[in-house]
């Protein structure tokens, strides 16, 4: 089990030694159960750090942010940024390394192992508590979560409120790290694609009905792509305006921006947006589930990525985010790749 004090000790040390610019971690929010991202520069603030089952966010996206910020600075501080990552998050770092978006020396990785549990799904917890308000959740020795409410504390078996992705987790402890907190624990998931079962078995028309009902709700707040560490493009192909223009960009070039998708949040456009996103994440998505968590309209976005993750595994035996030296899924092939679908 991860000992928060060890994490703080390490954090204090690297800040004292000025080994890192700052530390990206989790701290308690002012209100409510869920924590907020913490950006800690001074050793004295280290005690704000928390580690508990509510630490759901994939913080690696702030490494992407950091790269952008650094690019804007005149003479940037070249020290690495330290970041707290779970197993799944660490896979995101690997993809970023694989795609040469970040350099290994730019990150100091504080890996935390989820061991036999994982992080919770706030929605599941709320349902479970039936009105009671959780103030704090802790790990417990035996794969339980201890939930503290005004009415006192309750023990809940982890699997009942674990985030869906944790139940199908492929990396319960970090794949890459500089410091590892907690144990590397073998955990075998019997069916890593269980969440797909219901939708996959639907008839063609039911599938369509399912996705139409959900995607019609989309308000295109783009939280899904904003929270995704793999969506690091400066300009998304669905953006209707070019960001990648400079003083010397000609009017023609500006006019070249293609409207693959209209701004109208209507069925067809929402579908194209989400399908493009899904296909661009094929072989890159590491299933941190953030897109689905942040969606204010409760669209089960994770399923789209999970489906492709499954196909990628079955068709090409490819797992994203385990080996930074592997070529990307779509920039390699095997002679024996399946082609039964081809006429």
């Amino acid at each position: 089990m991860v000992n928060l004090e060890d994490l703080k000790k390490e954090a204090k040390q690297i800040l004292k030694d000025e080994k890192v610019k700052y530390i990206i971690g989790y701290k308690k929010g002012v209100n409510g159960l869920m924590p907020v991202p913490a950006f800690i520069k001074n050793p004295e603030d280290v005690d704000k750090l928390v580690w508990d089952p509510t630490c759901v966010y994939n913080l690696t996206l702030f490494i992407v942010d950091e790269k952008r910020r650094k690019a804007r600075e005149k003479n940037p501080d070249e020290r690495p940024v330290a970041i707290v990552v779970k197993g799944c998050d660490s896979r995101a770092l690997i993809v970023l390394l694989q795609e040469k978006f970040i350099d290994r020396k730019d990150v100091y990785i504080l890996g935390v192992s989820c061991e036999n549990t994982g992080v919770l799904d706030e929605k599941k917890l709320i349902k479970k508590l039936k009105g009671k308000k959780a103030e704090k959740v802790e790990f417990d020795e035996k794969d339980n979560f201890v939930v503290f409410t005004q009415e006192g504390k309750v023990k809940i078996p982890a699997e009942e409120i674990l985030a869906e992705r944790c139940l199908e987790c492929k990396a319960n402890s970090p794949v890459i790290y500089d410091v590892l907190l907690g144990e590397k624990v073998e955990r075998n998931i019997n069916n890593p694609f269980k969440s797909l079962e219901i939708t996959e078995d639907l008839s063609e028309e039911k599938k369509w009905a399912f996705w139409k009902e959900h995607l019609d709700k989309c308000i295109r707040c783009y939280a899904c792509r904003s929270v995704c560490p793999m969506c690091y493009c400066d300009e998304c192909v669905v953006d209707t305006i070019s960001f990648a223009v400079t003083a010397d960009t000609s009017a023609e070039e500006k006019a070249q921006k293609i409207k693959w998708v209209e701004k109208s949040p209507v069925s067809s456009e929402n579908f194209v947006y989400h399908l493009v996103r899904a296909i661009h994440l094929a072989g890159r998505c590491i299933d941190c589930g953030e897109c689905e968590r942040v969606c204010p309209m409760d669209i089960p976005l994770r399923l789209l990525n999970k489906k492709l993750e499954k196909e990628v595994k079955e068709l090409f035996d490819y797992d994203a985010g385990f080996d930074p030296d592997l070529p990307s899924l779509i920039s390699c092939f095997k002679d024996e790749d399946p082609e039964d679908f081809i006429r």
Binding site: W260, V266, I279, H280, L308, S331, I342, R343
Partner: protein, 141 residues
């Protein structure tokens, strides 16, 4: 007054060296096939971006065909292998969101296979007619 029969619109991305040449051969050999297909010649099947396919459906295509050289015959040595991978994924994705699988096809058509091209188009049209217009991804104003 009898309702006019539904005529599906098929956008076909044909690689220049094999499939497009193959379809030209069909022409040279005066093989007849339905006029529903609208060919767009690309350099290589490997250059067909998922966006092209989605955009074609979004713009009202009832079916989309991507056709390239047979494995090993690619004019650009291996472009069609990358295409095969990419297309396989789009195929699965479209099937998962409930688009009729018949609406999206990939084929290998060599420069010598005018007959095969003709047959593919005939079959494609035959399979699309009963489905009616593709409205799922079509932009409707």
């Amino acid at each position: 007054m009898m309702a006019e029969e539904f005529e599906p619109k098929i956008v076909a991305f044909l690689c220049k060296w094999c499939s497009s040449a193959g379809s030209d051969l069909a022409g040279v050999s005066r093989m007849e096939y339905p006029s529903n297909v609208l060919p767009i010649t690309v350099m290589c099947s490997g250059s067909v971006s998922p966006l092209y396919i989605l955009s074609a459906f979004n713009r009202g295509a009832d079916g989309v065909l991507v056709s390239g050289c047979h494995p090993g015959d690619c004019h650009y040595i291996k472009g069609n292998y990358y295409a095969r991978r990419r297309i396989a994924l789009i195929n699965k994705l479209l099937e998962y969101i409930g688009l009729e699988p018949q609406r999206f096809q990939m084929s290998w058509v060599s420069a010598a296979e005018g007959t095969k091209y003709t047959q593919i188009i005939k079959d494609f049209v035959k399979e699309l007619k009963p489905l009616g217009p593709q409205t799922k991804l079509r932009k409707d104003l």
